[in-house]
């Protein structure tokens, strides 16, 4: 689905992504792990068109999408969430969700004043969809709250909700689970699995929580210092000595591999 070839992203002399190559299989939930500062978020930013790559190529279903602006990638069904939750703070939660779908009739000045009936219809549909999403995420009681007033965890849910407002093809989730309590984390996990199964979303999930990764992801890719260290099932990754050295450490290996085996 997505193939990244020898991607580099340099900030001045610093190589945040340093020759990463990987491919994401269609229909998979791929995990992306690695130590802090490994370049995971930067990789997302480059793929999603937020940052131009220094060199390298990204293709989606064979089509070169390197450096396309984010809204064009959005139109192609490529969505991402932010590690630090973003929201339109002065709009309500529901409005935040309704902003997501592109190509709405009401987007041009002309239609705004002259195609009001069609816009009303569209908005009614969007509103229904937004309410369904909020219910799904168990935050429907917050729908009229200003998004800026949500708690950190609730904002993370809103991030996920955004990806459910359109028919995405591939969704990059940057630590959706961080700062979210266990129960909610399970809800998010359920949501991801359902979207993957029922709607055929492909996911790439950055997480530091190994249980979460274990539950959802196959395969798992481990990055360190801007490079891909290893790829395989979580068990394989955990057994990989480079990964143990760079990220997991020996203590964790013994403990969790034992638990999940």
């Amino acid at each position: 689905m997505i193939v990244v070839e020898d991607l580099h992203k340099h900030f001045g002399g610093f190589h945040a992504v340093d020759g990463a190559s990987l491919s994401i299989a269609e229909g998979s939930i791929t995990g992306l792990i690695g130590p802090n500062g490994a370049g995971k978020t930067t990789l997302f930013n480059v793929i999603a068109g937020v940052l131009p790559p220094t060199s390298g190529r990204v293709t989606m279903k064979g089509e070169d999408i390197t450096g396309l602006p984010p809204h064009e990638l959005f139109d192609k069904g490529l969505l991402r969430t932010f590690q630090i939750a973003h929201e339109f703070s002065s709009m309500t939660v529901r409005e935040n969700l309704m902003m997501v779908p592109g190509g709405q009739t009401g987007e041009t000045l002309w239609n705004t004043w002259f195609h009001r009936a069609r816009i009303r219809e569209e908005e009614a549909t969007l509103l229904k969809r937004a309410d369904e999403v909020l219910e799904f995420l168990t935050i429907d009681h917050l729908k009229d709250e200003k998004a800026g007033n949500l708690s950190g965890g609730q904002k993370k849910l809103l991030e996920l909700g955004r990806t459910m407002m359109v028919d995405a093809k591939i969704v990059f989730l940057d630590e959706v689970g961080a700062g979210v309590n266990r129960t909610l984390l399970n809800t998010i996990g359920d949501a991801i699995i359902r979207l993957n199964k029922e709607r055929g979303y492909t996911f790439v999930v950055i997480e530091h929580d190994m249980d979460f990764i274990d539950r959802l992801c196959d395969p798992v890719i481990c990055m360190a210092e801007g490079k891909v260290l290893a790829e395989g099932t979580l068990a394989e990754i955990k057994a990989n000595e480079h990964v143990i050295e760079a990220y997991l450490g020996t203590g964790l290996k013994n403990k969790t591999v034992g638990a999940s085996a």
């Binding site: 809204h71 929201e87 987007e107 041009t108 908005e123």
Partner: protein, 336 residues
């Protein structure tokens, strides 16, 4: 009686002119604030955009007048206004295409945009002076009054007179309509919400299927509308002179910053704060106090804090105070 006379004098020389001037500043500041919020730079060419829009409207007004077309009791300029806005929109979209777009694609720093807008300002400045000249132009087909001093005196029997010019009434009414329409647009329509979304969180807006180029386009069109309306109202109320419009940049920026840059509500409040301060600081209160105080206490001087020549200093001082005390402005804007 004296008390009423004092109030009438105050209304006539302070309250009414300041309300009118405040409306004009508010419309100007709205344009500046929208550009700052959405395109993220301080547009120094805004005063000259107002001049350009007004010039086009004046030319069309003259043409209408020469053809004998009029708008009943309303100034012909109001009839020419939509055409003025349309042409100014095209002009701004053209400027964006050939100038700003280049820097946007390069993702230049805001400070580069500010300097670029300075260049655009000089260009517009030249165009306007080349076409219409540097002199004073009147285009308000004659002065008409809603109520004149004489009528008011005859009506009330007061010593002090009160005059409200037609153009003053039009200014306030138009400003109210425009502001209401703008807020409806920003809060209720998808296009308006896209603009707010863009101003609120650009990164997220870009990832939400919002086409940034379209938002930019709509912003320029709305700014053209606001600038032309503000300029024409100011010109109808006083006269049109390119240099005056260039000077208006200071009180307009002061209004936008005092209210909180990027915040539309703030721009309006700021406009009135600046207008009322400017008018009352430069007004000689001798007359008003003369009515209110007993004869022995009556002031000999004019009781005028600043001569009108220094009126721009008022904006400047308020600006500095606000930046020192509350850098985000009265309403929460983006900090500058």
């Amino acid at each position: 009686m004296d008390f009423l006379n004092a109030i009438v004098a105050l209304a006539n020389f302070v309250i009414i002119p300041a309300t009118v001037y405040g409306s004009q500043l508010a419309l100007g500041a709205l344009g500046v604030t929208l550009i700052y919020g959405i395109l993220r730079f301080s547009n120094f060419a805004h005063g000259d955009t107002m001049a350009f829009g007004t010039m086009v409207t004046i030319l069309i007004t003259w043409w209408f007048q020469s053809m004998g077309i009029n708008f009943g009791i309303l100034p012909t300029a109001l009839l020419a206004l939509p055409f003025g806005i349309a042409i100014t929109s095209l002009f701004l979209l053209g400027t964006d295409r050939v100038v700003y777009k280049f820097y946007r694609e390069k993702k230049s720093e805001p400070v580069i945009f500010v300097i670029v807008s300075l260049g655009v300002m000089f260009m517009m400045n030249g165009i306007v002076r080349f076409i219409i000249g540097t002199g004073d132009q009147r285009f308000a087909d004659g002065e008409r009054f809603i109520i004149s001093t004489r009528e008011f005196k005859a009506m009330t029997g007061l010593q002090e007179g009160l005059a409200i010019r037609f153009t003053q009434g039009i200014t306030v009414v138009t400003a109210i309509i425009v502001v209401a329409a703008l807020f409806y647009f920003l809060n209720r329509t998808r296009t308006g919400k896209s603009m707010r979304a863009f101003s609120d969180n650009e990164d997220l807006a870009l990832l939400s299927g919002i086409n940034p180029e379209r938002v930019v386009m709509v912003t320029w069109i709305i700014v053209a509308g606001l600038a032309t309306i503000a300029g024409v109202l100011y010109g109808l109320d006083k006269t049109f002179k390119p240099f005056t419009y260039f000077q208006l940049l200071l009180p307009i920026f002061a209004s936008a910053i005092v209210g909180g840059l990027g915040n539309p509500l703030g721009a309006i409040a700021g406009g009135f704060v600046i207008a009322f301060s400017e008018v009352s600081v430069t007004y000689a209160f001798k007359k008003v106090l003369g009515y209110l105080l007993p004869e022995s206490l009556e002031p000999d001087s004019l009781v005028q804090l600043l001569s009108t020549d220094y009126k721009f200093a008022v904006s400047f001082v308020i600006l500095i105070i606000v930046l020192l005390v509350k850098p985000t402005g009265l309403f929460k804007g983006k900090s500058v």
